[in-house]
Amino acid sequence: MHIVRYRHSPQSDLFAALDRLTNMRAEIDRVFESTVGSFSRSPAPLSRWNPAVNVYQDKDQFTVVVELPGLKKEEIEISLHDDTLTISGERKREESSGLEFLTERLYGNFQRSLTLPTAVDTEKVKASYKDGLLQVVLPKAEEAKPKQIEVALK
């Protein structure tokens, strides 16, 4: 059993329903021992902050873009284990002097992991953070790059 903190917002019912759906999917996945794509969102409750991710690919590299508005550079943690990239951290509330009138934003810990389709060169991974967008560039490992093979025509 797990306890979900009560949020006084009409969205909380929706989130609870979505949570149940996610759990249901996990259940179905377990029964059929299938996984729907390696990039699918973690089974974490949806009422938690789950930053949105885009992934781009060209022949040399992958680029992962994550929406992380309102963080400081030092609050973002990026780690790479084999070909699994994990981005995590904690978002704190801004210091405030007033009363909360309306709260829609989500705070607290977040974590996103994604498995890249091919091996990457861990030494050459670069990241930047601007306008609330984190961008991680992961060059593909030499052996994973597509190679052009010349075939002689007789």
Partner: protein, 128 residues
């Protein structure tokens, strides 16, 4: 001069601003109430200062944030980030002095400060 070769303004090829079906995302936002007014903090990742348009019209505060296209190489292979611009409208309380609204954006968080008019601020009245 042949008048037909002159494109008429109302037949211009560019669709009218009002005709275009704009799709927006409502950014999640917190509103805080203080003694001196209100503070709105909205999440608008990918929006720079230049992409912001904040207007006050007929007692409404309209926030429009245009996303800067993400500068990346390669093709998109997985997407969760919605590419649409942000828009949010708030009705202003009559106590807000709309001439003194200020805004600032930092790392994708837009902060709008809405001060109350001097006359409605709580004031201590000395008893004679």
């Amino acid at each position: 001069m042949n008048i037909l070769s002159q494109p008429k303004k109302d037949q211009a090829m560019v669709p009218n601003e009002d005709d275009r079906q704009a799709v927006y995302v409502a950014p999640p936002a917190d509103v805080e109430s203080t003694d001196v007014g209100y503070v709105i903090r909205a999440e608008m990742p990918g929006v720079e200062k230049d992409g912001l348009e904040i207007t006050v019209d007929r007692g409404e505060l309209i926030i429009l944030g245009r996303r800067k296209p993400i500068e990346v190489t390669g093709e998109l292979i997985y997407r969760e980030i919605r590419p649409h611009d942000f828009r949010r409208v708030y009705e202003l309380a009559p106590s807000i002095d709309s001439t003194k609204i200020t805004a600032n954006i930092d790392q994708g968080i837009l902060t709008v400060t809405l001060p109350k008019a001097e006359t409605v601020k709580p004031r201590k009245i000395a008893v004679q």
